[in-house]
């Protein structure tokens, strides 16, 4: 047979040929093919190499459980390693490459590992590679790591789009096989909102390959009619190519939809994958069952395939698995495969039935060997023959294909994602999940049923029951009740006496003896065996291997599979791309951007921006000729101190506080007093956490009796708002106090410098003379002859005569322009957060560099701000603990180099003069530092043990990371204008 494609039959469209390549070789398939079926049709059975021994491997399954046929598809940034050929919908232009082989999949030098296999048993690496000690990282591990993995990922960014969606429904049906279709139809007819999700590109599940009739009808007709009716119901959404990968709390299901994974010409307007979070009132899990491989020698030779997969390729894609097939079965399924093979005109060499009572109803041509087993399959890169033990004697049968039918395991993963444990059923010889859990019911073969009629009935009945519980009282099953006629396989966990390696976990090369070794070494617990042998840890997550491993462990431990139990089923049901989980939140869109109302004004004035959380803040404003940032910052600082400057402080958190208890509330929130703050005044406030440590600081102004305006730091704005709401709602719900965040409402502009008042005179209608509007004045003002109302605060972070003017955000730019115009004759300049930082360090003002969650007010020189008289405020009670009042707590000091030509950086540590560098000798660290153009030297703030007592002490500022050791002196943290003469200007 030059081609394995049958001339007729199947669900492929022979009028639509598709061209693709495998390892560079051009091949052709048809619409309706998967990559796997197309490879088989082209006679390509050997498609990959196993992980450890580099054994030649072929296509084993036709679905998600595929452990062998992993290929790399796509090019460049679209490269996808470890892709299951069985799940890839074929398209023209698809490029696929085999993996884990060198130089080629047909001739792989790595296969030498197979010869060394006696030394490479389970856990061998735990016992060796330890001597000499240095060799592990220099010699052994690099070799092991080089061998790691199967496919190679690209380093190129993904060019495609992804997105995420929410969906809501009354009933989610997972799987569009017989049970799922019946459930969806039942619910659809009842008028419920239904989502039917299926991982395939064509819904139908096992019906797609079913040749037996269902009642009076062909399976295909049942499928067609059901599907047509579902499609006509507006309340039913059908998500094909959609894998439900996880069941989460609140009955939310995660699903991923392949939107454009079946085409080489990607539409950039649509995502390639879409993540769904489906909030379902109830779900029917109709995920079907997985056929079990049989464990015998050479059960991994290309040509050995699951019987159900063979049927699927035969009936869906009209692909023959080989010319001459041996069936190895221990249930009825093997006979169905034999029937379909013979119906397609293919030879079945023998039906090897492990059961002694072989099916008497078999009417096909193939001979049946009851009570026989396949002990070994033979062949290298392709199956040539099998050794059958028949009546106790070996018989060799020539064959190029072997179907394994070891019984069925219900696919219960999702049902076990939220803690339910699978339960071994002797009757079904399988692990089942609890049939009903809150929000989820299992139906069909996922619930252990076999016959198609029974699955249809079960899905319909369970959907009707679930819907009635949801209030759809008239819901009735769309299919009639049926008895399950299927028989259950008697487990055959492995075949004794195999000569070749009998694989349990194909991808990870775990074979029978590895599990035996695990038991004899004490790793017989199912979890330990998994971890020791790596069984079930490959990309198929043990979908095929776990059940046999459990059976083998049970026999070795002489207990029931029930006593062995399963490993934990965890998301994801099948592997899920980072892209799908990420959606559109990537690159520059990783997080949203938050822009100040003065962003464009700053841009216009040449600002360099810096990210502060989600905000962009203007950092400095370079002028023509300035090449280094320090030039700009020094100029801005000097100019503010000599003339005036304007700075955007809109990003500070701003909160309107209302209510007749607002003052009382603030009094409890801040450690200093607020109850008697006069209307028209601002006050600096220190907010503690309940553990006594400082949380945030800022100024709060009283605009009217029951209306305050709080500012917070930029970084803590959201946290402070949550904190206020917590205190008001959860701690003191009886207080009348309300909050509105007005951060975005106001453009807030600092105008600082000796000429600031003069400049503001040109804007502000009200009297802002020192007498009328002294330091810490705060009030609503009229601007520009009444054109605008704003809020003016006489507060200063720079230590200069300074104001903050708040105006409605949309007018911010116009007002800033007006200030610049008014200030031009006075030499005003815009300044950024760098200059702001320099000036606050010069004045010893703290920020979150100092308020780092480990300081109490006294550490920063704020001891007097802690009200001794207030009965209660947040943090009061814990402030008196021994460690909080200890004398040696790191406390705020200034630090400056002895030689102004030397410098130091933030994060340097402080060592006493001459002390040996050690943690024990660590005196503290520099929290903030900058070059002060006013002092002509680097200056810093530091938290140092006994800090305030050590002014004048010489120390070493130790920055070993940069080999920078600066002799310095501790001093007052106020470097500039300690008498605050300028502030009151």
């Amino acid at each position: 047979m030059s081609s394995f494609r049958l001339s007729r039959g199947g669900r492929i469209d022979r009028a639509k040929p598709l061209h693709f390549t495998f390892d560079g070789k051009p091949m052709q398939g048809f619409a309706g093919d998967t990559l796997a079926s197309a490879l088989l049709a082209n006679g390509r059975q050997l498609v990959g190499r196993s992980f450890k021994y580099h054994r030649p491997r072929g296509i084993l399954t036709a679905g998600a459980a595929e452990p062998n046929a992993l290929v790399t598809i796509g090019e460049g940034g679209r490269t996808e390693a470890n892709t299951r050929a069985t799940l890839v919908e074929l398209y023209s232009g698809l490029t696929a490459r085999s993996q884990n082989r060198w130089p080629s999949v047909d001739f792989d030098l790595g296969a030498i590992n197979s010869l060394l296999s006696p030394f490479l048993g389970a856990g061998f690496y735990y016992k060796t590679f330890m001597w000499p000690a240095a060799f592990w990282e220099t010699v052994y591990e690099p070799i092991i790591r080089k061998a790691a993995g199967l496919g190679r990922a690209t380093y190129e960014p993904d060019p495609d789009a992804y997105e995420k969606c929410w969906a809501h429904c009354d009933l989610l049906v997972i799987g569009a096989g017989p049970a799922g279709l019946a459930a969806a139809l039942t619910a659809g007819r009842a008028g419920a909102r239904v989502i039917l999700a299926d991982e395939g590109f064509e819904p139908g599940g096992s019906l797609l390959a079913e040749t037996a009739a269902i009642g009076e009808k062909a399976a295909d007709d049942v499928l067609g009619e059901t599907f047509a009716e579902l499609a006509s119901l507006p309340n039913v959404r059908i998500f094909s190519r959609t894998t439900v990968f996880g069941w989460y709390d609140g009955n939310v299901f995660g699903a991923v939809e392949s939107v454009q994974k079946n085409t080489a010409s990607i539409d950039p307007n649509r995502p390639v994958e879409r993540l769904w979070r489906i909030a379902a009132k109830h779900a029917i899990l109709a995920s079907g069952a997985e056929e079990r491989p049989l464990v015998f020698g050479g059960n991994d030779i290309p040509g050995v395939m699951m019987g159900g997969a063979m049927r699927s390729y035969l009936n869906r894609q009209a692909v023959a698995p080989g010319k001459r097939t041996v069936i190895f079965t221990n249930d009825e399924s093997g006979y169905r495969t034999a029937t379909d093979l013979e119906a397609a005109g293919l030879e079945v060499a023998a039906i090897v039935d492990a059961r002694h009572s072989a099916a008497s109803s078999w009417s096909g041509r193939a001979p049946v060997f009851p009570g026989a087993v396949v002990q070994d399959a033979k062949g290298g890169k392709a199956l040539t023959s099998v050794t059958v033990i028949k009546d106790g004697a070996p018989v060799t049968i020539k064959a190029d294909a072997l179907a394994m039918a070891g019984g069925w395991s219900p696919i219960i993963h999702l049902a076990c994602h939220r803690g339910a444990k699978p339960i071994w059923s002797d009757a079904k010889a399988a692990f089942l999940a609890p049939e009903t859990q809150d929000g989820l019911t299992i139906a069909g073969s996922a619930a252990g049923l076999g016959a198609t009629e029974a699955c249809l009935a079960d899905g319909a009945e369970k959907a009707a029951r679930a819907l009635r519980a949801l209030g759809f009282s008239h819901a009735s099953p769309a299919f009639v009740a049926a008895i399950d006629t299927a028989t259950v396989a008697k487990p055959l966990w492995y075949v004794r006496g195999a000569k070749g390696k009998a694989f349990v976990d194909y991808q990870n090369d775990v074979h029978l003896k590895d599990l035996g070794l695990a038991v004899s070494e004490g790793y017989g617990h199912v979890e330990l065996a998994k971890r020791y042998t790596t069984n079930g840890m490959a990309s198929d997550q043990g979908k095929l291997s776990n059940i046999n491993a459990i059976g083998i462990l049970a026999e070795a431990r002489k207990v029931s599979p029930a006593d062995v139990g399963t490993t934990t089923f965890r998301p994801f049901y099948t592997p899920l791309s980072f892209g799908a989980l990420t959606g559109a939140s990537k690159g520059r869109h990783f997080q949203p951007v938050r822009k100040s109302p003065l962003h464009d004004w700053a841009t216009k004035n040449g600002a360099v921006f810096v990210e502060t959380g989600l905000w962009y803040r203007s950092s400095w404003f370079p002028m023509a000729g300035e090449t280094k940032w320090r030039e700009s910052v020094d100029r801005e600082v000097l100019n503010v101190r000599q003339n005036a400057g304007i700075c955007d402080v809109s990003t500070l958190g701003k909160i309107e506080i209302f209510g007749k208890d607002a003052a009382e509330f603030l009094n409890r929130i801040y450690c200093n007093a607020f109850l008697k703050l006069p209307v028209g005044k601002a006050r600096y406030g220190l907010m503690l956490r309940e553990d006594g440590l400082i949380y945030d600081d800022g100024t709060t102004s009283r605009l009217s009796e029951n209306h305050f305006f709080m500012t917070t730091t930029t970084a803590y704005a959201a946290g402070v708002m949550n904190h206020l709401e917590f205190c008001a709602q959860a701690l003191w719900p009886d207080l009348d106090v309300q909050f509105a965040s007005s951060t975005d409402q106001w453009a807030q502009i600092a105008v600082a410098g000796p000429k600031s008042r003069t400049i503001l005179h040109a804007l502000v209608d009200d009297d802002i003379s020192d007498a009328a509007f002294p330091f810490l004045g705060a009030r609503q003002v009229s601007l520009f002859d009444g054109k605008l109302t704003g809020r003016l605060f006489r507060i200063s972070f720079s230590g200069e005569l300074a104001y903050e003017l708040a105006v409605p955000a949309g007018y911010g730019e116009a007002v800033a322009d007006a200030i610049m115009a008014a200030g031009k004759p006075h030499g005003i300049c815009p300044y950024g957060v760098e200059a702001l930082g320099v000036m606050r360090i010069e004045k010893g003002h703290v920020t979150h560099s100092e308020i780092n969650g480990t300081v109490v007010p006294a550490d920063l020189g704020f001891a007097k701000m802690v009200s001794p008289t207030k009965p209660d405020f947040i943090g009061k009670a814990m402030l008196s603990r021994e460690g909080m009042v200890a004398q040696d707590r790191p406390s705020l000091v200034g630090v400056k180099p002895l030689d102004p030509a030397t410098t130091f950086k933030t994060g340097s540590h402080i060592l006493s003069d001459g002390a040996t560098p050690s943690l024990e000798n660590d005196q503290g660290y520099v929290t903030s530092s900058c070059y002060s153009p006013n002092l002509g030297s680097t200056i810093g703030l530091a938290l140092v043990k006994h800090g305030p007592k050590r002014h004048g002490e010489h120390v070493t500022v130790w920055n070993d990371l940069r080999n920078e050791y600066t002799r310095a002196v501790l001093c007052s943290p106020v470097f500039f204008d300690p008498e605050n003469g300028k502030l009151h200007g």
């Binding site: 490269t79 996808e80 591990e141 190679r152 995660g254 070494e521 004490g522 690159g587 990210e611 460690g883």
Partner: protein, 427 residues
Amino acid sequence: MIAPSSHGESIMRYSAFSVFLNALRANKSWQPAWRSPVPKNHYDVIIVGGGGHGLSTAYYLAKEFGITNVAVLEKGYVGSGNVGRNTTIIRSNYLLQGNNPFYELSMKLWEGLEQDFNFNAMVSQRGVLNLYHSDAQRDAYTRRGNAMRLHGVDADLLDRNTVRQMLPFLDFDNARFPIQGALMQKRGGTVRHDAVAWGYARGADSRGVDIIQNCEVTGIRRENGRVVGVETSQGFIGCGKLALAAAGNSTVVADMVDMKLPIESHVLQAFVSEGLKPFIDNVVTFGAGHFYVSQSDKGGLVFGGDIDGYNSYAQRGNLATVEHVAEAGVALIPALSRVRVLRSWGGVMDMSMDGSPIIDRTHIDNLYLNAGWCYGGFKATPASGFCYAHLIARNQPHDTARAFRLDRFSRGRMIDEKGVGSQPNLH
């Protein structure tokens, strides 16, 4: 080849030669790595919890202090707690005086561990890079790196170009929060986590310690203010001293003696991708989102992010957190987009009120506590066992674990690396 052990049985010493010899005997001569004994009526010390810390405590009790009449009681299988479900990272890049020397002791023990307990746990010092994205983060790492160096711990501050040369596939050009550099600890890295539990179990067992699996402690019996033993699913077992090492469930066990702890249990998720050919050589943490990643010897990218944020004993997490972690991952490494995540799982963390652990005596004279490891427990395994064994044997804290006292909260001596205070889900 055969080393005598203290209880008359023999264990096979592991070596390349032993693997070779056994292969010739068709691998039929391997013995159990540890025994499965029936519990005795009484032990000098009972350790509750057969995870990394419990087993390492037993190992060092036997090896360093000669106390071998010890039982480790494990309600599941050996290593079924967090030692078997973490992201395998080891490092000693801590900031504060209470933590830094302790984690460095742990690192030193890691460095000689395998030869010490004759089990290859694949300690791999691949380097840990903490990326920074702002001046403030750089300054914080400068402080931390210098604190490390003050204690003789290796630390390097890398600039953007150096990081780029090492890891050119990180997003340097299109990032929302561009990478500015990294703090690197070259000696940090990864260890095969299960093997740590097995190595300690085998080492402790060979010195006479009884490791008793499937033995859940259901009660603690006290007489005259002292613990006399524990009720278990295998009956009452008496003891001279009782040592708790059940992180994740510390408060549940402590509740048996009506002891409240400054601890909440939170779920932390972790993830592994499909196996890939070598992709990333170091351990890398993203400084602008919750994400860290390394690659296992099998090829899987092992990664994680932040805790889910609510109290849980469920060992499973939330999809929103999964998405959050993936978003941060792709923000850091755009090429991850086409990589597939294989599996997610959750571990139950003992989150303490300052983010640092507790190794201390309790108000009951012969009851000891090892708890509150947050998500730092794995890297601490050797030092935790070492210091806890010291405390149990000598009734005095080991010097390097002196700060991990239970009364530090009431005294106002918290060890808060992040400075977020008594809200565990922020640590």
